[in-house]
Amino acid sequence: MMDRSKALARATRLRMNFEAAGAQVVEPPLLQPAGTLLDLYGEDIRARAYVTSDAVRGEQMLRPDFTLPVVQMHMREGAEPARYTYAGEVFRRQEHDPDRSNEYLQVGYEIFERDDPAAADAEVFALIALQLRGLPLRAATGDIGILMAAVQGLNTTEMRKTALMRHIWRPRRFRSLLDRYAGRSPVPESRLKLLSSEGPLTGSATVLGKRSEAEVAERVALLREDAAAAPIAENELLALEALMAVRETVPFAIEQMRDIAVDLPAINPALDRLDGRVAALKARGIDIESLDFEASYGRTSMEYYDGFVFGFYAEARPDLPPIASGGRYDALTRQLGQGGEIPAVGGVLRPDLMLMLEEGQS
């Protein structure tokens, strides 16, 4: 068992480093209203967070991360631009993996700033890399924004693009939608029957429940429209698949993605932004030549990130979660901003794991 006071001391030191870098210390509460988290993550969050409740406030969750309360606080009362730091416990259920901690310390650094997102991305990454220097870690980076641009740029209907965008973070569902829209998977028998029948759209069944007849009819109409739409073109599909498979050091990854952009020109602006970020990282002394880039990185576990994403992993300990991770979450500020929005990027460190690796080294 890791000595808790040592981890706390390390967390305090890291937070002081972030303060020295210009961040203001914030202390979000441990109990968070469950509604916001459920709206954002859906029921899946119940598998990850501890829920408690009382008769007056209803369901609350033990803070599963800091980003959400920090964003809410900033959108409510923050001045611009802002840099925040925090250190404290987060709580995660580990029912399928009891060897992982269900309570641990996180220290974070978050930037809310409108000008120069590339510089802000590089600032967060470089500052976190600096805290980790000397540890045997591998950094992985990615950019969800490139994938989103690729989907937005597909030559297909808005409905299909919306459905694909909604499942960017669920690779399996994304795959099955893509196969369907490309005409690769057979249309289910039941669907063919539904689309072929003329006349009333709601059938003869007793109408019950909150979903109205009109809603059913509307979807049937949409499905008919969709059945008439052309499949996604082969060259676009292959390009999208090639894009999702890109896994290289940054310079080679960019080269490959520029080639792919011949068939998916919509990703060029996102690639320009990546170029800008790479220049900013270089300016901060990050060795770009050996930095890994995976186009699909962050698609499974980092649901609110929509741009730059990164994680630091212990190479000799593949069983450990990332020692640090972070990314850009512009859309989250829009979702929680009640009309407001601001570009934002941040990352967190695990002081307990840092100590464990250091002890293993000595």
Binding site: H96, A163, S176, V216, V220
Partner: protein, 230 residues
């Protein structure tokens, strides 16, 4: 100490369990008054009968307080996320069949698959301002099934009974419930999703991997295994 067998304390499940063991030469019986939950076993030396609610048997097995237990696959998998590490499936008993299924109103003629459900959940949320509600008592199983299938924008609402009625009462849009014949579903104007079978369950004899076994317990277990596998 003796080898403890946990059996549901009442109802058809208890009777059928008694019958199943009786056919294999093991007599289980309740002792004392109708209301007293005590039991006896004859047929294997050093065995003890523990009568419990079926819902508590998974927990008792996982805690190692009983060595063997009869309960449904559904209850084991709902209550024990690490059931494969904690329990060994010794023998399915061939009764107590029940499927945990997803069902939607029959009037949703546009919904036949999980794919449809996911699309409808997205538009329902947009239209009604809340996530599509699924009434169930099997929260873990349903959530894990839907996560695996990549269905989003739904919400589980707890229903411990009369689950099929929740749609009519508009406290849920659909249900995830146990069914053996589907008759209750049809009577409530609901239909199955074609790929919405969450779990097929039946009464099963489980062995705890975490309980401690004395020499006498091992002898008893071997004798029992000989009886049930013949």
């Amino acid at each position: 100490m003796s080898l403890k067998l946990g059996v549901p304390s009442k109802g058809r499940l208890m009777e059928k369990t008694f019958d199943w063991f009786a056919k294999r030469g093991l007599t289980l019986a309740r002792t004392g008054s109708e209301r007293e939950y005590a039991g006896a076993i004859a047929g294997v030396e050093d065995m003890e009968l523990v009568l419990l609610s079926a819902g508590e048997i998974p927990r008792e097995l996982a805690a190692g307080r009983i060595h063997l237990g009869v309960t449904g696959t559904d209850l084991v998998q709902e209550k024990l996320p690490l059931w494969e590490q904690q329990l060994e499936e010794m023998q399915p008993l061939g009764f107590g069949h029940a499927d945990l299924i997803l069902a939607v109103p029959q009037c949703w003629i546009d919904v036949e698959t999980l794919d449809d459900l996911d699309a409808v959940a997205a538009s329902f949320r947009k239209t009604h301002g809340h996530r599509l509600r699924i009434a169930t008592k099997y929260h873990r199983l349903v959530r894990e099934f839907l996560t695996e299938a990549g269905v989003a924008d739904y919400q589980l609402v707890d229903s411990q009974g009369a689950t099929e009625g929740t749609v009519k009462n508009e406290t849920a849009e659909m249900v995830a419930d146990i069914t053996s014949t589907g008759e209750t579903l049809r009577a409530n104007h609901l239909k199955l999703l074609s790929d919405g079978l969450v779990l097929q369950s039946q009464a099963t004899l489980w062995r705890s991997r975490v309980a401690s076994y004395s020499e006498a317990d091992r002898v008893a277990l071997k004798a029992l295994a000989g009886l049930i596998h013949d």
